[in-house]
């Protein structure tokens, strides 16, 4: 057996999904199915005002007529939207960390996220979203002192309706695409962040998502607003327990940066990818978009995508303000039968807007991964610039990696650069590492982490360590 097929076999045998366990928490669950009644049920459960219910119903009406996006290079059987629950709440709803179900805390322990320590030592405020309802929020008071609002989106609907009304749907309209439309109709929870003018958020804000109910779709909605001159770094990480049936996850994230504001959004995505035969796993259909509304504003997306059976995700930037900047740093790892179609869109509207795209794709097993990117320069984007670099690394010879860059430029002064490479882990590299004492698995993990370095180094320190560990886990398996 050549080294390459040995590795392919080794990664194909990846059954080591470390986050595969289920927490037993009694839940308040909506009956299966999707109709107007269910949407009213969700809205009523959350004591929502009339305008929120109207937004949901309008989205639902539109969703019924909307076709699914077809252009991505992914395959799955038709989704039976009626065969899922659209609301599940752990109970009782708690106010403080001390009241949190010890089992939930245990879950976080197992995931290597000792929330208490994490929050206290690392200075991370954790707005925990467990299933669909926030059960604990920490550090809120500290943040409130400087005028920062960090709460669940449901709380924001109640306590800050003027902000939610103004911004929700302003970057991702409810009719943007079928998945975003569904989210707009049935979203249950997510985070809301508002950083007032001139405030630099003193800590990394973080949310851990976790799907925990049988057949519960997960529809988070996150809204982050950085007012003039504000700065915030937000971390999103998720793991899901082992599941037999496909679960759909359709989140929407909207970011708004005003003049001179900066938002850094980092994701580590580790949803259950399915087993080595391609059975089960999460369908991750996410719409993430940031609007650089103000001059000199900046939005930076960093993502490490290792999980999900199917990933459909294009965190994008609309560069409206003059001199605004957008960045996209991505690592996408697929193994076994995973499929990923991910990338970004950079829409240059303002003068001298700049964007930078660094995408690293790693495919192993029988997986298939596509980088799909659009750089669009509108007529008014005088002197706009883009740099795009897409690198693919193939492990074994049964996987696929594709790069699909689209460029549309309506302004001749724009400067666009694009570089792309495809490579394999060479036998020379593996043998060199092994000769120095690394096992084959350790060698693969080291080489892959090296390949991803430019992206990894954009992650906040404590997240980078976890992400590197995740790279090793997602490529490890029993040797032989």
């Amino acid at each position: 057996m050549t080294t390459e097929t040995a590795i392919a076999k080794q990664v194909a045998e990846l059954a080591h999904y470390e986050a595969g366990f289920v927490t037993d928490i009694e839940s308040d669950i909506a009956p299966k199915g999707l109709n107007e009644d269910i949407i009213r049920f969700i809205s009523a459960k959350k004591n929502e005002p009339e305008w929120m219910l109207d937004f949901r119903l309008k989205a639902f009406e539109h969703w019924k007529k909307m076709p699914e996006p077809q252009w991505a290079k992914i395959h799955h059987p038709p989704i039976d939207y009626q065969d899922a629950h659209y609301y599940a709440a752990p109970k009782p709803k708690l106010g403080s960390m001390d009241e949190v179900d010890p089992k939930l805390l245990e879950t976080f322990e197992k995931l290597g996220v000792p929330m208490r320590e994490r929050a206290a030592l690392a200075g991370v405020a954790v707005d925990v979203v467990f299933d669909s309802v926030s059960v604990a929020t920490t550090f809120k008071e500290n943040l409130a002192e400087v005028g920062i609002i960090f709460c669940s989106i449901s709380e924001a609907v109640k306590n800050h309706p003027e902000l939610v009304k103004k911004y929700m749907g302003s970057v991702v309209p409810y009719h943007d695409n079928k998945h975003a439309c569904l989210n707009s109709a049935v979203f249950t929870d997510g985070s809301f962040v508002y950083i007032p003018e001139g405030v630099r958020c003193p800590m990394e804000l973080s949310t851990y998502f976790r799907i925990n109910e049988m057949k519960t779709g997960q529809f988070e909605r996150t809204l982050i607003i950085a007012d003039k001159g504000a700065y915030v770094s937000y971390l999103e990480g998720c793991t899901a327990p082992m599941r037999d049936e496909n679960q759909m996850h359709a989140a929407v994230v909207e970011l708004i940066a005003h003049d001179d504001a900066e938002i850094k959004y980092s994701t580590v995505q580790n949803w259950y990818p399915g087993d080595e035969e391609g059975k089960g796993g999460i369908y991750n259909f996410v719409t993430k978009r940031g609007l650089c509304a103000g001059h000199r504003s900046k939005i930076s997306w960093t993502q490490v995508e290792t999980g999900s059976a199917i990933t459909w995700k294009y965190p994008s930037c609309v560069l409206k303000g003059d001199d605004s900047q957008g960045e996209f740093y991505s690592v996408a790892i697929t193994n076994n039968f995973q499929q990923a179609d991910t990338g970004t869109k950079m829409i240059h509207m303002g003068a001298r807007t700049k964007s930078r795209i660094i995408a690293k794709t790693i495919s192993a097993g029988k997986s298939d991964s596509t980088y799909r990117g659009l750089v669009k320069i509108l007529a008014g984007a005088e002197g706009a610039r883009n740099y795009t670099q897409c690198d693919s690394l193939l492990i074994g010879d049964q996987c696929g990696a594709h790069t699909v860059p689209y460029i549309e430029s309506k302004n001749p002064t724009a400067k666009l650069e694009h570089e792309a490479t495809t490579s394999k882990i060479s036998d020379d590299q593996l043998f060199y590492c092994q000769q120095r004492g690394l096992s084959e698995e350790e060698a693969v993990a080291l080489i892959v982490n090296g390949f991803c370095r430019e992206v990894m180094q954009n992650l906040p320190m404590e997240f980078a360590v976890e992400a590197q560990k995740l790279v090793s886990i997602s490529l490890e398996g029993s040797v032989g």
Partner: protein, 245 residues
């Protein structure tokens, strides 16, 4: 230390080693010379356990332990080191991180505790100074953009860090100017002594002026055809391999 008996091996179904016999005692430095294509690199790969280098007969033991059944990383942990003729680039992996990962992987396999970051850096600092290696080089990715001399010095640094019992140097002198050659030879000479043996593979006698071997062998057509003292290397320099090979 290293005992090789009647070792035969093939690559791609083609027999390359035709019965190699070689015994290197503790603390000795042996040199293997021979024409291009004689099987020198093949011997070093077979000993290190590279995929595709199939042993078809004979034995090889390190301190009495059979190494031919071990995985390459197990042989490394057992104390076998191979300085590559062409050191390999690993983009994005910083030298310091590479050295630490390698050292701790070996220690783990030997049942030793892993070195703490601080102790590791102290050790690295010492070895680095001895070999005149700048901090800057260790911040770069493994072998990426290294000059020929830097690559070879980096191999010697790894010997110094990993402290193998048996180090094989495959044409470490190729592509080196005389100053770089001296630095490399100095490094090796400093590590000579009880507990560590060397097998120096070279095409030219030049290196052996600086690393004076205890025994010199000539390998030709996959067999050791002649052995002698350091003088043998000098003779070969004059006569070439035509007579022996």
């Amino acid at each position: 230390m290293l005992v090789i008996k009647n070792l035969t091996a093939e690559v791609d179904g083609k027999q390359i080693l035709n019965g190699v016999d070689l015994t290197i005692n503790d603390g000795e430095v042996h040199a293997i010379m021979g024409p291009n294509g004689a099987g020198k690199s093949t011997l070093s790969y077979v000993l290190a356990g590279r995929d595709g280098y199939e042993v078809t007969g004979g034995t090889a033991t390190l301190d009495g332990v059979d190494i031919l059944d071990m995985d390459p990383n197990e042989r490394a942990a057992a104390g076998l080191f191979l300085a590559f003729q062409y050191p390999v680039e690993i983009p994005g992996v910083q030298m310091t991180n590479f050295l630490k990962t390698a050292l701790n992987s070996q220690r783990k396999q030997r049942g030793e505790s892993e070195l703490e970051a601080l102790d590791f850096l102290k050790l690295l600092k010492t070895k680095q100074k001895e070999l005149g290696i700048a901090d800057e080089m260790l911040k770069r990715p493994v072998n990426v953009g290294f000059s020929g001399g830097e690559k070879k010095r980096n191999e010697v640094l790894q010997i110094a860090m990993l402290q193998p019992k048996m180090a094989i140097l495959d044409e470490t002198d190729s592509g080196l100017d005389i100053d770089a050659l001296k630095i490399v030879a100095d490094g090796v000479n400093r590590m000579r002594g009880a507990g560590r043996s060397f097998l120096v593979i070279t095409h030219y006698q030049r290196l052996l002026d600086y690393i004076v071997p205890d025994v010199v062998h000539v390998l030709a057509k996959g067999k050791i055809v002649k052995s002698g003292t350091a003088e043998l290397a000098k003779e070969l320099e004059k006569t070439g391999y035509a007579d022996v090979a």
